[in-house]
């Protein structure tokens, strides 16, 4: 393969273990000369929730931008084997003049779906994130956590097979963040998407994922990978166990090692 752009195809006969995202030796150099990524090998399979942790500015977000097609890798191959990609931005990016329902409908609307079908999708997604009753609220009337829920719901209307998260809960307070983590995991087990999640919180990474990938600072390379053994669905209290703390310690250590 010599393509550098992500190739998007319809999923072939829904194989339960197929690879959805396959990065081989991906590098990214911006026109100003900054090398954001170098030699990145990364796969995300169906059923996996992969979290990338790394220091600020290590190119984590660039990984997602390449995966979604917003950017093209300057080297290597970046294949994405689905066209149902959810993308959750750092901020909720709701349109302030639209109420929750109309915001959640937006993606279906942009894809030219009719009113009835997108209303049905929006209703379902709003229910999934627990925002029923707030369909008519404007973003400014919602708390940060609720805005993020609306943003999640908006992506859920696409029924994504691959869900990309760019530090979505970074701006939220600890309690809200933990609660949204729980709900995200619930969605993950129910909705059967694969996740690629960017964060700089190690405990969030360990709690959410089936695999944690540690990146180093500029240029971003993968320095270590940890499989997370805890079963899904996950008990929120797992955060207080010794095994959890130990794994958090290991990941933090790897993060420190890679951070020069």
């Amino acid at each position: 393969m010599t393509t550098t752009a992500p190739t998007k195809k319809k999923p072939a006969a829904a194989s339960a273990t197929g690879t959805l995202l396959d990065f081989r030796n991906v590098a990214m150099q911006f026109s100003n000369g900054t090398i954001a990524l170098q030699g990145v090998d990364l796969t995300v399979n169906r059923g996996e929730f992969v979290t990338v942790v790394g220091p600020s500015g290590c190119g984590k977000s660039t990984l997602l931008r390449i995966a979604s097609g917003l950017e093209t890798a300057s080297e290597g191959t970046a294949e994405v084997d689905t066209d149902r990609i959810g993308y959750v931005f750092q901020d909720a990016t709701l349109l302030p003049w639209r109420n929750v329902e109309r915001n959640v409908e937006l993606l279906a609307e942009l894809q030219g779906e009719n009113k009835k079908s997108r209303a049905a999708k929006a209703k379902e997604a709003i229910e999934l994130v627990g925002l029923t009753g707030f369909e008519g609220s404007l973003p400014k009337q919602l708390s940060g956590g609720m805005r993020m829920r609306a943003s999640l719901a908006r992506s859920l209307t696409l029924a994504p097979e691959l869900f990309l998260f760019d530090e979505p809960f970074g701006a939220l307070d600890e309690i809200t963040r933990e609660r949204l983590n729980d709900e995200l995991l619930k969605l993950f087990t129910e909705q059967q998407f694969a996740g690629l999640f960017i964060t700089h919180s190690v405990s969030e990474a360990v709690y959410l994922s089936t695999r944690v990938v540690v990146m180093s600072g500029r240029p971003g390379t993968i320095v270590d990978t940890f499989d997370v053994p805890f079963p899904m669905p996950r008990d929120p209290d797992i955060r207080f166990t010794a095994e959890f703390a130990e794994l958090v310690g290991k990941v933090s250590h790897a993060l420190r090692e890679g951070h020069h």
């Binding site: 993308y87 349109l95 707030f134």
Partner: protein, 287 residues
């Protein structure tokens, strides 16, 4: 903690929040003497100062017509021998010129800005002319406009449009370009066309900014109409001519009355568009 099942905020919480918001707004809108009293006092003081000046010109200088007493000015509004009917007719004429000029400024300004928002090279090519339009002294162009378009309604409208155009162009452009990167990318990820992005993201997002421009342009359009009157006096000119005529006849009260009416027209137009802005985008944007 079993967060997975719990909905964090209940509709009741939100209702309480909204009620708090309503109370804050009711307070801000002004109930209670602390809110309306100070402006009234200032107004009374200003009128008092005016009386003192009028008294000085009347008794000391003996030139009472230069600065007439406020009540004489008020009386002039109802002087139906000459002034009153003329005043309302002129007001109507000026309003017509201002609103026509404003309408042209809105259409031209929004189109111009939309064109510039499409590509950086268009903006680089077209923006300088918006700035030039803003900088060129309109009064210097007046003789030329007269020669080219005559001394009637069209020339008055042209002057008005030229004066009101810049805030429309610059505010609309600012608003159209203000959509943030992730919002644009959200549209880009769904393969939205430029037109879709313009209609569903940029224009709705630009509305607050467009209305701010509109409010400024509206105020300027009244100025444009009065300035137009001073130079293009054929046809049915408006308040600008009334100011000139009353001055030349040494009718001080009439001059003041005309100036006040012109100012009120400006204020009315300003308030109208402020109100319209709140009506259209106030739901989601706080001015």
């Amino acid at each position: 903690m079993s967060g997975a099942e719990t909905v964090v905020v209940t509709p009741r919480d939100a209702a309480i929040e909204r009620r708090g918001e309503r109370q804050r707004r009711a307070y801000a809108r002004g109930r209670g003497p602390l809110i309306w009293l100070p402006p009234v006092i200032v107004f009374v003081i200003l009128i008092g100062i005016w009386y003192l000046f009028a008294l000085y010109y009347d008794k000391v200088q003996g030139l009472g017509f230069l600065v007439p007493y406020p009540h004489l000015v008020l009386k002039e509004f109802f002087n139906d021998q000459y002034f009153s009917p003329q005043l309302w007719q002129d007001l109507l004429n000026s309003t017509e010129v201002a609103l026509t000029g404003l309408a042209f400024a809105i259409v031209i300004g929004v189109l111009w800005a939309t064109l510039m928002s499409l590509a950086k090279w268009v903006e680089r090519s077209l923006y300088p002319y918006a700035v030039i339009l803003q900088c060129v002294p309109i009064l210097a162009l007046v003789p030329l406009i007269g020669i080219l378009f005559g001394y009637e309604f069209p020339s008055r409208v042209i002057v008005t449009t030229m004066i009101a155009l810049f805030p429309m162009v610059s505010n609309t452009l600012f608003g159209l370009l203000a959509a943030d990167r992730s919002q644009r990318e959200l549209f880009q990820l769904q393969g939205a066309s430029n037109l879709t992005t313009l209609l569903k993201l940029q224009f709705p997002g630009a509305m607050p900014s467009i209305f701010l421009g509109l409010r400024n342009a509206a105020g300027l359009s009244v100025i444009g109409a009065i300035v137009g009157d001073q130079f293009f006096q054929r046809g049915n000119p408006g308040l600008g001519v009334l100011v000139q005529v009353t001055t030349s006849r040494a009718n001080g009260a009439g001059t003041f009355a005309a100036i006040i009416i012109a100012s009120l027209l400006g204020i009315a137009v300003f308030l109208l568009f402020g109100w319209l802005a709140r009506l259209v985008v106030g739901r989601w944007y706080d001015f």
